[in-house]
């Protein structure tokens, strides 16, 4: 352990801690910085985190200094302030200051720190600035503006260290130095948009989000990516009922600071044109009141077969078990929604909650087996989520039945095949829990309002409960009921920020 004094206060940290982290602890906020990133190597190129250490002749950068016992550090002295100011001014010499058209404005490191420490009247005339290329498409997801770059090298290190693809580099010297892709290369790895996230200025911007919304108008909700079984923690940025982008939320246990490009685009499904937005009876839109009446018609003798899906939350899967205690249960199509995985973040399993399905005890069946179950069902069938009818065998088995109830989010094959289709909510429109491939239960919050007459799935399912079962009054009560039913040892309503393991690595 090392004892040191920072800004007059004593602090004790483990040996080997960087001075940057020690200062963050002591100050309660990080030192100004561009190049430092907790999940990347130390470059020490931006020189912005300089602090005054007594006994050292000059200021030193905190990120590349390890703490030593007895250090006396000043982070707010006049000398440090002046140094920050001058370094920032240097960074700005060739910066175009086109904040009005820059997507980064509002979450820009340069902007924020310049407002905090800057020298407000620039000594450099605009005409003296070195002009570089603007708005270059450097990959399928990323656009580069070389002028705005402050040469922090975060993107270069990301491509070298995380994806190990090495597309990016810094070329030329002095004030001609500029960021760019290696000759003949494109920034086309599966994690390329992370460079946009870590870029402290607007040099790298996302093509998908570009000009869609000013960031200060966005509100955020904590979510979990539903794109695959990894369950990357994300921030859902939304405004006025619309999700605009997903950004990774740091969870060292799951995804570090990253997420894949594919996962970022999963929000598009939330606003798809084929959303199921109102109850439909034999393809005709009806009101909820009508739908309830029809439901009594269809499920007059209860459900004989209940088909769940790995796309639904743990609470819903647990509730499903209560809907029809005597029914045959299925977890949907086995091996559906499979893609290509890698050893970084992406799983081949493109469902967010297959582990949850297993926890809830819903066995998956292949198409033929599911078709057999459907044909064997001597009562109404309830399909919740997923799209089992996408398999031709299942579709054939469902065809002609007049007692299929579907609760889901999109008007796809199963919704078409169902007699009564009830609109549920997507992951962005409800709160819930996904259990990822590690068996880690992670909670996600509701970001936007549900479209049309769609309702939270668990409320829809509660309508289907037999008269003998008490419907849960709230999500909290439902979670408690599911916890008890599945025999989990964790409080589902108060999961830790980085999730809780449900037991055993998969």
């Amino acid at each position: 352990m090392a004892k040191l004094t920072i800004d007059g206060g004593a602090i004790e940290v483990a040996d080997g801690t960087s001075l940057f982290d020690a200062c963050r602890l002591a100050r309660g906020e990080a030192l100004p910085h561009f190049c430092y990133h907790p999940d990347l190597s130390i470059a020490g190129v931006c020189r912005l985190c300089q602090v005054e250490v007594e006994g050292m002749p000059k200021l030193t950068i905190a990120c590349n200094t390890t703490v030593r016992d007895g250090m006396v550090v000043h982070t707010r002295s006049e000398k440090v302030r002046k140094a920050s100011q001058q370094i920032l001014e240097m960074h700005l010499i060739n910066h175009p200051v086109d904040c009005p058209i820059c997507d980064q404005a509002g979450e820009c490191g340069l902007q924020n720190q310049y407002m905090a420490y800057g020298l407000y009247d620039s000594q450099v005339a605009e005409s003296d600035k070195v002009n570089k290329a603007k708005a270059q498409v450097i990959g399928p997801h990323v656009i580069l503006d070389k002028e705005r770059c402050v040469l922090c090298s975060r993107c270069v290190r990301f491509c070298n260290e995380v994806t190990k693809t090495g597309e990016m580099g810094i070329f030329n010297r002095g004030d001609r130095a500029e960021i760019g892709t290696a000759p003949g290369r494109e920034l086309d790895n599966a994690y390329s948009v992370n460079t946009v996230d870590i870029c402290p200025v607007g040099a790298l911007t996302s093509r998908d989000f570009r000009f869609q919304k000013r960031v200060w108008m966005l509100k955020s909700a904590d979510g979990v990516c539903a794109g695959c079984a990894t369950g990357c923690n994300v921030r859902v940025d939304h405004e006025a009922g619309r999700v605009y982008r997903l950004k990774p939320r740091r969870n060292a246990q799951v995804n570090g600071s990253w997420m894949c490009d594919e996962g970022r685009l999963t929000y598009k499904d939330v606003h798809a044109d084929d959303r199921l937005v109102e109850p439909s009876w034999r393809g005709q839109a009806v009101t909820w009141a009508d739908a309830k009446a029809r439901l009594a018609e269809v499920a007059v003798g209860g459900f004989a077969l209940v088909v769940g899906s790995a796309h639904q939350s743990l609470e819903e899967l647990g509730l499903l078990k209560l809907v029809a205690p005597g029914a045959v249960f299925s977890g949907g199509l086995a091996g559906s929604d499979m893609g290509v995985g890698d050893d970084l973040l992406r799983s081949a399993d493109r469902t967010p909650n297959r582990r949850g399905l297993q926890l809830a005890g819903l066995p998956e069946h292949d198409a033929a087996a599911l078709a057999v179950l459907v044909r064997a069902a001597k009562g109404a069938i309830l399909v919740h989520g997923g799209d089992p009818a996408a398999a031709p065998e299942v579709a054939a088995a469902l065809a002609g039945r007049q007692d299929v109830v579907y609760v889901g989010t999109h008007r796809r094959a199963t919704a078409q095949a169902a007699t009564l289709a009830l609109p549920g909510a997507t992951w962005a429109e409800k709160a819930g829990i996904f259990v990822n491939r590690q068996g880690r239960a992670q909670a996600f919050a509701q970001a936007v309002a549900r479209p049309g007459q769609a309702r939270e799935d668990w409320r829809v399912l509660a309508e289907l409960l037999p008269a003998t079962a008490a419907a849960p009054a709230s999500l909290k009560a439902l979670r408690e009921a599911v916890r008890a039913q599945l025999g989990l040892g964790i409080d589902l309503d108060r999961l830790p920020a980085d999730g809780a393991l449900t037991g055993g690595e998969a």
């Binding site: 086109d98 009005p100 058209i101 290329a133 603007k134 708005a135 270059q136 000009f211 000013r214």
Partner: protein
């Protein structure tokens, strides 16, 4: 409340016997209004009333009238769709959708730029906020009238056109 400067009679709450009968005061009041009436019948030209559509009041140069969008030399809007104005707008009357401009030097331009003139409070904060001097309220147009609410929502082309008046 201060009663200084008012005649004493009106402040002490007591009335003279003649005043308390009220009728005489009525006659005095009638005399006052009658005087105005007769004077105005013979001096119609001296009334302060402005015959509005024919005569118009001249407003100061700083009067904030209907908005206009400034143009570049080539006639395209100066606006770069930074949405500072709509961010700053206290009435939430400006709606911009941005798009990629083919010229990377311009980079961003407003694909649509709608102002709801019914919501606008003519505070002028948008022109304060604009970094490009692209929006101004200096047209001096204040006759903003239309027969449907839709016509009060004016678009980019309308605001760029210097010959448009009032509303759509």
């Amino acid at each position: 409340m201060s009663f200084e400067g008012l005649p004493k009679g009106s402040t002490d709450g007591r009335r003279s016997p003649l005043e308390s009968i009220y009728l005489w005061e009525v006659v005095k009041g009638l005399a006052v209004t009658g005087r105005h009436l007769v004077h105005n019948i013979f001096h119609t030209g001296e009334m302060p009333t402005m015959q509005y559509p024919e005569e118009k009041r001249v407003y100061g140069e700083r009067f904030r009238g209907r908005h206009r969008l400034m143009q570049r030399e080539d006639g395209t809007p100066r606006c770069v769709a930074c949405q500072m104005c709509s961010t700053y707008c206290p009435a939430d009357c400006i709606h911009i959708t941005a798009a990629e401009h083919p010229d990377p030097a311009i980079e961003k331009y407003p694909a649509t730029f709608d102002i709801d003139l019914l919501r606008c409070v003519y505070c002028g904060l948008c022109e304060e906020a604009c970094p490009c001097d692209a929006i101004r309220l200096d047209t001096g147009i204040y006759e903003i009238a239309a027969d449907s609410r839709e016509k009060f929502v004016v678009d980019k082309e309308f605001l760029l056109n210097e010959r448009t008046r009032g509303t759509r």
